[in-house]
C-alpha cells in the first residue's frame, strides 16, 4: 500500500506540510521523497511539468499538484474517516473561500516579506501581515477550529505557515502570542494533534533556513 502513495516533498515547505497533515489525518501510509529545488529530480519534472514545484502527490503513478487541490483529493478519495471538508455545500464553500484567502492574501504578503530588500518594504509587509492575521483571529472567533468543532481544511491550510511565524513570536514589534490570543490557543490545540506535530518542524530551524536563503540572495 505504501508504494502506491508517494509525496514529492520539501521539509521547509508549508504547502508540503499541508499534504502531510492531511495524509496523517486519514491514516494513509506514503513514501516521502525529499526534493532539492536547486537540482530538481527527473521525477518532479515529469510529474509537475507545469510548475516544477512541490508538493506533488503521486497516487498509483498519477500526479496531483497544488496543495489545496491535493488535500481535497485526499479528502474525497479516502472518505472513510476524518472528513476534512464539511458535507454541507455552503459550509464547504466557506471553507474553500478561507483556504483561498490564506493563499491569495496571506501567502502573498509572506512572500513580499521574504523578498523585502529595504526596511521600508519590510515594515510595510509586516504591517500588512499583521492585519491579515487579525482577520484570521476574527474569523476563528470563539470556535476551537476554523471549521467549527472539528479540525479541517482551513486549519490545515493555515497552521503550517502560521506555526512558523508564531514560533518566532514577534512580527516587527507586534507580539503574536499576546495580541492574537485566539490564534495562540488554536496553535496549541492543533499541535496536540499528532498529524500536525509530526508534520511540522522546529520553527527555529525553519527561521534559520529562511534567513540563510535571504542572505544568499543578498536580502539581509
Amino acid at each position: 500500500m505504501a508504494e502506491e502513495v508517494v509525496l514529492l516533498d520539501l521539509w521547509v515547505s508549508p504547502y508540503a506540510a499541508r499534504v502531510k497533515i492531511a495524509l496523517a489525518e486519514k491514516g494513509i501510509e506514503y513514501e516521502s521523497k525529499e526534493e532539492d529545488l536547486s537540482n530538481k529530480s527527473s521525477l518532479l519534472l515529469e510529474m509537475n511539468p507545469v510548475y516544477k514545484k512541490v508538493p506533488v502527490l503521486i497516487h498509483k503513478g498519477k500526479p496531483i499538484s497544488e496543495s489545496r487541490i491535493i488535500v481535497q483529493y485526499i479528502d474525497e478519495l479516502w472518505n472513510h474517516k476524518s472528513p476534512l471538508l464539511p458535507s454541507d455545500p455552503y459550509a464547504r464553500a466557506h471553507a474553500r473561500f478561507w483556504a483561498d484567502f490564506v493563499d491569495q492574501k496571506i501567502q502573498g504578503t509572506m512572500y513580499r516579506l521574504f523578498e523585502a530588500a529595504s526596511s521600508e518594504s519590510r515594515e510595510a509587509a509586516e504591517k500588512e501581515l499583521i492585519e491579515d492575521f487579525k482577520v484570521m483571529e476574527g474569523e476563528l472567533g470563539k470556535k476551537p477550529y476554523f471549521g467549527g468543532e472539528t479540525f479541517g481544511f482551513v486549519d490545515i491550510a493555515f497552521i503550517p505557515s502560521y506555526r512558523y511565524y508564531y514560533g518566532h513570536e514577534t512580527l516587527g514589534n507586534f507580539n503574536l502570542v499576546e495580541e492574537l490570543p485566539k490564534l495562540a490557543a488554536w496553535v496549541k490545540r492543533c499541535l496536540q494533534r499528532e498529524s500536525v506535530s509530526k508534520s511540522l518542524h522546529d520553527p527555529n530551524k525553519v527561521y534559520e533556513f529562511i534567513s540563510e536563503l535571504r542572505k544568499k540572495r543578498g536580502l539581509e
Binding site: V50, H59, K62, I64, S65, E66, I69, I70, Q72, Y73, E76, L77, P89, Y90, R92, A93, H94, R96, F97, D100, F101, V135
Partner: protein, 219 residues
C-alpha cells in the same frame, strides 16, 4: 420552498461570467444586480466584507464569494443536472488544477496585457500565449475540456474570450494565429446558449477598455 438566487454582478467581469454560465447551465432562475464598483453598495460590502468584490452569489440570503468557489457550490447544490465537475476524485483534481492554472496564467496576464506597453507588454503577451498553448495541450482532441459536455474548466476559461478582441487590438497580435485550437473551442462554446447569453459583445468590451485607458492615462 423556492430558491432565491441573487448574483452581485458586473457586466465586463470574466469572473462574474463564470457564475452566469454555471447558473444558465443548471437552468437556475436568478436575479443579476449590476454593481457600481467605484461606489460600492452596502449590500456588496456586507456580503463580501473581506474582498468587497464581485461576483457574489447570495442563495436564500447566504453569500458565497470567489468565482470558482461559487461555481463548485452551484454544482454541489444543484447536483441533479448538468454536472460541471467529474465524479471521479482524480479527474476532479485535474479539473481544479487547470481552473486554478487559468486564474494564475490567463486571467492574471489578461488583466495586465491591455495596461502594459513596450517590453513589459511583450513579456505579458508571451506568458499569456504560452498559457493558452498549455491549455490547448490539455484540450487535445476533445470537444470541450469537460469531454463531450462543457465542464468546470470550460466555464473557468471561456469568459476571457470576450476580452480577446481587446487583447489583440492592444497587444497587436492575433490569438487565432497563435492558438487556433483555443479559438475553435471558443466558437464551439459560443454555440451553447448558456455561454452566448452570459458573455458580452467583445466590441463593447473594447469600447470599455478604451475608456479605462483614457481614464488611467494609458495610450
Amino acid at each position: 420552498m423556492e430558491d432565491k438566487v441573487i448574483l452581485l454582478d458586473f457586466w465586463s467581469s470574466s469572473y462574474a461570467m463564470r457564475v452566469r454560465i454555471a447558473l444558465e447551465e443548471k437552468g437556475i432562475q436568478y436575479e443579476a444586480r449590476e454593481q457600481n464598483l467605484v461606489d460600492k453598495s452596502p449590500l456588496l460590502v456586507d456580503m463580501n466584507p473581506i474582498h468587497k468584490m464581485i461576483p457574489v452569489l447570495i442563495h436564500n440570503g447566504k453569500p458565497t464569494c470567489e468565482s470558482l468557489v461559487i461555481v463548485e457550490y452551484i454544482d454541489q447544490v444543484w447536483n441533479d443536472r448538468s454536472p460541471l465537475l467529474p465524479s471521479d476524485p482524480y479527474q476532479r483534481s485535474q479539473a481544479r488544477f487547470w481552473a486554478d492554472y487559468i486564474d494564475k496564467k490567463i486571467y492574471t496576464n489578461g488583466k495586465k496585457l491591455w495596461r502594459e506597453k513596450g517590453e513589459k507588454q511583450e513579456e505579458v503577451k508571451r506568458e499569456f500565449i504560452a498559457g493558452l498553448r498549455a491549455l490547448e495541450g490539455e484540450l487535445g482532441e476533445k470537444v470541450y475540456f469537460g469531454g463531450e459536455r462543457i465542464g468546470f474548466v470550460d466555464v473557468a476559461l471561456v469568459p476571457i474570450s470576450s476580452w480577446f478582441y481587446s487583447f489583440e487590438k492592444c497587444g497587436n497580435f492575433s490569438i487565432e494565429k497563435e492558438c487556433p485550437k483555443i479559438v475553435a473551442w471558443v466558437k464551439r462554446c459560443m454555440q451553447k446558449k448558456s455561454v452566448s447569453k452570459s458573455l458580452p459583445d467583445p466590441q463593447k468590451i473594447y469600447g470599455y477598455v478604451l475608456q479605462l485607458k483614457q481614464k488611467l492615462g494609458i495610450d
